[in-house]
């Protein structure tokens, strides 16, 4: 099951957020996004310190209730996705979102400045949802939960 998805810029701005299954609602989405950035930022720094070789990258971490998948692009952008713990290694999924959806619909749009947030009625959103709904282990994401 797919819970939610963030695109965070290297400076901590949340460029895109969408949720599909998030049973526990947050009071302030802005704060939630900032916390996510903080978490990723410190985890990445820590992982780099722990790594026996230079250039370690965080791929995912797992708790007993959810799994958090990360793609750290060379430009500093972070693509973060939370799923249930039955979803396996999703590097390819995040990679596809970055190279085939984000670059094609956002970076190549000349009117989109690099610090702009991605609007919720954009081509990006529809392509993202079309792609994610093809992935069986994410379950039915066609109707985002309303309650």
């Amino acid at each position: 099951m797919l819970y939610n998805f963030y695109i965070l810029s290297g400076t901590g701005k949340c460029l895109y957020y969408e949720e599909w299954q998030r049973t526990k609602k947050v009071n302030s989405p802005e704060e939630d996004q900032k916390l996510m950035f903080g978490l990723m930022h410190s985890l990445t720094a820590f992982v780099t310190k722990l790594s026996p070789k230079p250039g370690a990258n965080l791929v995912h971490f797992t708790t007993d209730t959810f799994r958090c998948h990360v793609l750290h692009a060379a430009t500093g952008h972070m693509f973060v996705m939370n799923t249930d713990i039955n979803v396996g290694d999703s590097r390819d999924v995040l990679r596809h979102i970055y190279s085939e959806i984000y670059i094609e619909t956002v970076v190549k749009n000349p009117l989109h400045a690099k610090t702009d947030t991605i609007t919720s009625n954009s081509l990006f959103k529809s392509e993202l949802n079309a792609y994610l709904s093809q992935i069986p282990q994410f379950g039915n994401i066609a109707q985002p939960q309303q309650s």
């Binding site: 230079p54 250039g55 990258n57 793609l71 750290h72 692009a73 060379a74 430009t75 500093g76 990679r95 970055y98 190279s99 085939e100 984000y102 670059i103 970076v107 190549k108 690099k114």
Partner: protein, 177 residues
């Protein structure tokens, strides 16, 4: 073949779109000519080209990272500039570029290439001697490297258009961000 193509193979990997090289060089030439009309000062035109290149570089770098499967971070300047010269020039300009003249501390290097598709049909007249015709390339290099956290300067030190035997762009690392 002039038409733009977008191929998808069985593995659903996109092959880079190709555009006719004459169309490309003539379009670029038209832009430079228009800038010369607008600004009347070759130095200012070179600066504008650099600025345009910078904006292109900031976007093109992501495409490069995705297509060359090097999505994750470059830690060293050397690593980044090798990728840029070896794969980047090939991917976007279709030319082979070499690196030479590394400075001892590895913060300065020259990108050297014989062919320059931008200036294929160009002859510089006397009054445009100070114009750096292909300055957009310097901007692209600067913009692309800055997106992966290397602040640099880039400028033509040798240009076939000006009678040199090769094209040489000197890239200097200013700061690792």
């Amino acid at each position: 073949k002039g038409e733009k193509m977008l191929k998808k193979d069985a593995g659903n990997v996109r092959v880079l779109e190709k555009v006719n090289s004459e169309l490309f060089s003539l379009t670029y030439g038209a832009i430079v000519t228009q800038l010369l009309n607008d600004f009347d000062d070759p130095i200012e035109v070179s600066a504008q080209l650099d600025k345009m290149g910078y904006n292109i570089g900031q976007r093109i770098v992501e495409e490069f990272l995705a297509k060359s499967n090097a999505v994750t971070k470059c830690t060293e300047f050397k690593e980044a500039i090798v990728a840029l010269s070896k794969s980047g020039f090939k991917m976007f300009l279709g030319v082979n570029a070499q690196l030479s003249n590394w400075s001892n501390d590895e913060t300065e290097v020259s990108i050297v290439f014989d062919e320059n598709p931008l200036s294929e049909f160009v002859e510089l007249s006397e009054k445009h001697r100070s114009l750096s015709f292909s300055n957009v390339l310097c901007g692209v290099i600067r913009g692309a490297l800055e997106m992966v956290f290397f602040r640099t300067t880039a400028m033509f030190v040798k240009d076939v258009l000006k009678g040199d035997d090769i094209n040489e762009i000197r890239v200097v690392l200013k700061e690792k961000m």
